[in-house]
């Protein structure tokens, strides 16, 4: 661990505040029963994690999380909630205790695994040395684009992004197959309304 000079106090403070907020929101989501509140809190969760991404220098990810996680996801969850129900049933007692044990066991195993992980912000960790550094060094010469995330996304990993676009397209297709195009069901609902009036 050469070159690591301990945690920065300001960053540590931001981490504590934002992670604490996320923790409170997570517990509230787990305990609440009003689906509207749950959906809105999940939007808040996404926004606060986007803030934390900015503190971690991942501006592109923060942008995407704020637009996709907090924007589109919340709109879709609200739309689905309008079509289904407003409140969740309280969980039976066994459904509260048994998952708690399972989750605590998984958490303990994961915490045990973190002992071997490199320190937070360590520039010499394996993840930060080989291929990531290579992208940083070669992008000005290969691509000539300042934003390395764009260069890697669209050029170095173009096939990846092609597949991802295909996934989004396929998701839209399957939602259309499951729920209809939208205009037909809309016209059906409008007809039902006029029938009731007439």
């Amino acid at each position: 661990m050469t070159g690591y000079e301990g945690a920065d106090l300001a960053i540590a403070l931001i981490n504590v505040v934002l992670l604490g907020l996320l923790f409170v929101i997570g517990v509230a989501i787990a305990r609440m029963r009003s689906l509207f509140a749950i959906v809105m809190l999940s939007g808040v969760y996404s926004l606060i994690s986007a803030t934390w991404f900015v503190a971690l220098d991942a501006v592109d990810v923060a942008f995407t999380e704020a637009a996709v996680g907090a924007g589109i996801s919340t709109a879709l969850l609200l739309g689905a909630m309008l079509l289904t129900s407003r409140t969740a049933k309280p969980e039976p007692r066994a459904m509260r205790i048994v998952p708690l044990f399972a989750v605590i066991a998984v958490g303990c195993m994961l915490v045990y695994a973190t002992i071997d992980l490199p320190a937070f912000g360590d520039p010499d960790s394996p993840a930060n040395t080989y291929v990531g550094t290579a992208y940083l060094e070669r992008t000005p010469e290969d691509i000539g684009v300042p934003n390395i995330v764009t260069a890697v996304l669209a050029s170095y990993r173009g096939f990846d992004t092609l597949g991802e676009t295909g996934v989004v397209f396929a998701a839209a297709l399957s939602v259309i197959l499951l729920l209809g195009f939208g205009e037909r069901s809309l016209s059906a609902s409008l007809r039902k309304k006029t029938d009731k009036k007439g």
């Binding site: 050469t2 997570g26 996404s46 220098d57 689905a80 289904t84 000005p140």
Partner: protein, 182 residues
């Protein structure tokens, strides 16, 4: 000891968030609440990956200052630097035992870049994960809406009871002579 905890406290907090998402996913019977738990779980995993990519003293991976102009005039220098780096990489792979030495040679100091940037690769991967996550969430919600229309409820235990009743009724209908299989 305190330093050890400070260096890994973030990971533990993120694991806690992951476990909250997993608990919501396990314990809830409401399908929409389950999907929210799934997305909380997913966001926490993205937090974990991004926290691995941070480098102390680094900045966002957008080249600025002298680094951004690197592709203009002084092209030969860049090529030379890249070639030297290639040699470094080959050395690092060959001499895995001398890990520490190769790593220090690779570290932020010898970038060939003026500034320190955080690792862009996890950012790209997580960008992909977020967009794919919302796509799968949309498909899941569409299925939940269809389940609500077919069963009239989105509580998974009620759906299971209804399925069991239908199965028993069909069995009784097909085998009128036999007793109840349950």
């Amino acid at each position: 000891m305190v330093e050890f905890i400070l260096e890994r406290g973030n990971y533990w907090a993120i694991i806690g968030l992951m476990m909250i998402g997993l608990y919501t996913l396990f314990s809830s019977t409401n399908l929409i609440k389950r999907l929210v738990g799934l997305s909380v779980f997913q966001t926490s995993i993205i937090l974990f990956y991004i926290s691995l990519s941070r480098i102390d003293g680094g900045t966002a991976p957008i080249l600025f200052g002298a680094d951004a102009k690197g592709h203009g005039g002084d092209h030969a220098e860049d090529v030379a630097a890249a070639a030297a780096h290639g040699a470094d990489a080959a050395h690092g792979v060959a001499a895995d035992a001398g890990h520490g030495v190769a790593d220090t040679a690779h570290g932020a100091a010898s970038h060939g870049l003026e500034h320190i940037y955080s690792n862009p690769l996890p950012h790209v991967l997580m960008l992909t994960a977020i967009v794919v996550g919302v796509a799968t969430l949309a498909v899941g919600l569409a299925i939940v809406v269809r389940i609500r229309e077919a069963y009239g409820t989105i509580e998974s235990d009620e759906i299971r009871e209804m399925d069991l009743e239908v199965a028993l009724a069909e069995y009784a209908h097909d085998h009128p002579g036999e007793a109840d299989p349950a």
